[in-house]
Subunit: 349 residues, 2 copies
């Protein structure tokens, strides 16, 4: 049975934990807000289950609470942000906010970050821009999390699951937000199947000889297998997108693919639609586009056609009302991490 924790309680508790690690209240609150929102939206792998990891990373000196953000280089409509190995969310928020300010000035801007820890849910940053009326595209590479994903035609991992995200105003209550991996599956999802003794769906992985497999242990080896790039028989498209992410998040930040840095590399492109169409016209056109897409009759097995992000906002609404479910093991790990930094709050669950 999962533990159910109220959104607001979880938010306050998480912020207290990050304050206890040495973060200023405002930065602790930002990290907590990011993780709790991810959990509320159903992105459990990018939510509060990361608290123990972050506490541990602070202990190891990998995350440096309070480290200043700097704009290392600014040239035309581009900025290079150094996140100083503060929490990844502090860096990511700073970078997208700087890109938004830059886009107010230049109508479009490109920002790349370096020295950024685990940044969490990529869509949080593009959403931040969309909520202010911008269209944003985000890229996130992961040098350290393992090059698990095989290139098209190959059988050895060469890039990480490198997600891509974009968001824009919908003309309705919430932005349109897409946020997805460029691989068929995450390593976490494969591990979950292994831990539960389940076979994998078709098409997720290949074993070390490159043969398709449904057995999680064929991925872990040794010898190690690989995760297939997104796109099935057209996986060359998914791997191409993964390369774009690697360049936008890694190479442009000055990190060659061979440099196994911790954390994530982020890249953002922000565009002001009002540079192209009248400010009041874009939301109207977006609302029409969304309504037109949703007006399609449903396919068998579906009750409704959703635009990207719509289900996440629905989940968030439900969980903000009913509480956020957290599995017992994860909850025990979170409490233990909190205690390790002296936070012993009794949480009503």
């Amino acid at each position: 049975m999962p533990v159910i924790v109220s959104h607001d309680v979880l938010l306050g508790f998480s912020a207290n934990v990050f304050v206890a690690t040495g973060a200023a209240r405002v930065e602790a609150a930002a990290v907590a807000e990011h993780l709790v929102t991810a959990s509320a939206m159903g992105y459990d792998t990018h939510g509060v289950m990361r608290i123990p990891q972050y506490v541990e990373d602070v202990g190891k000196g990998m995350i440096k609470p309070g480290a200043p953000m700097t704009i290392e280089h600014r040239e035309g409509a581009t900025i290079l942000v150094d996140c100083g190995w503060n929490f990844g969310q502090v860096g990511g928020n700073f970078a997208i906010d700087a890109a938004i300010e830059h886009a107010r000035l230049h109508r479009t801007a490109t920002a790349v970050v370096k020295s950024c820890n685990h940044a969490g849910r990529l869509g949080a940053y593009t959403t931040r821009a969309a909520e202010q009326g911008f269209l944003a595209i985000g890229f996130c590479n992961s040098p350290i999390h393992g090059h698990f994903v095989s290139p098209w035609g190959g059988r050895q991992g060469r890039l990480a699951t490198n997600p891509i995200s974009f968001a824009m105003p919908s003309g309705g209550e919430h932005p349109v937000v897409a946020d997805f991996s460029t691989a068929e599956a995450s390593e976490g999802a494969i591990r979950l199947h292994r831990n539960r003794g389940m076979n994998l769906p078709d098409g997720w992985i290949t074993g070390s000889s490159g043969e398709p497999s449904n057995d999680p242990s064929a991925f872990y080896g040794p010898p190690r297998g690989a995760i297939r790039p997104f796109g099935g028989n057209r996986g060359y498209r998914g791997f191409a997108l993964a390369m774009l992410v690697e360049v936008m998040g890694g190479l442009l930040g000055g990190s060659p693919v061979s440099k196994k840095l911790p954390g994530n590399g982020l890249g953002f492109i922000v565009i002001d639609p009002s540079a192209f169409v009248a400010e009041d016209q874009f939301p109207v056109m977006m609302a029409e586009l969304c309504a037109y897409i949703k007006s399609s009759e449903t396919a068998p097995g579906f009750d409704e056609v959703f635009v990207p992000g719509e289900l996440d906002y629905r989940t968030r609404r439900e969980r903000m009302r009913d509480g956020i479910p957290i599995d017992e093991n994860t909850w025990a790990q979170i409490l233990s991490a909190a205690e390790s930094v002296g936070v012993n709050e009794r949480i009503a669950v």
Copy 2:
């Protein structure tokens, strides 16, 4: 048996045809160069088989040879280009060149086009930027070519096969170039299967009730079926990308989804890598990235791992040496279109 035409002969002949439709020599040559390069690279559907269509469109007054290109609006690092319904390639080249010039000034630029006819191979434009050292992302929507692609969970077509492309310097002989549809298949590929009496591969289409089908006639109906978005069981990702293309190529150009304009809408994002990393460093990092990807041992059934675009350049090299194969029907249509505008050259084939 296909006809084999030498690259240079085809180039001169095609340019003569467009001159005969009323285009200035320099614009005719640009359209010819675009189509012949597409044919040389193996993109036959975007190559010289388009000559009859373009000749016909000039005759109907849809393509206006010689129409001036204008930058309708310029604000910060953004430009809105009006292609005046000239040949789509004249418009596309003008727009990407303007975006490149703008990116030289602002280090990044976003360009959107309107009033653009069929633009051909999207990758040609991103490649043009990459050949000058830039990273470029391109988007191309198709209001008129039919909304064949169903949204995730839906069974009725709501967007076109909206391709996306990106290109960047590789540090080697040719840029890295990706160029792909956001749908599982093109309408042209489905028509080809129908004409040959062949079944479709799994996953391409659904019939009018939304049921998967391998029968091309289930797509054509009536009632009409739909093409599935790219990504198989994760087709929500492909359709999300199609929406991004619709916004970048259509909405930002002032065309709501309900406006069934002819031609294509284009959007380009151009980024100067040297705004972020030293000018001589980026190609070195790209060469390392490409070599690393290609160093993966191959999967069963593959002889080599290719980076995006590599196979296209190989095909072009072969066809420039050996000639470009064109099927007999297409060749007859091209000669007939040429004759219709008074071009009666005898082509050695």
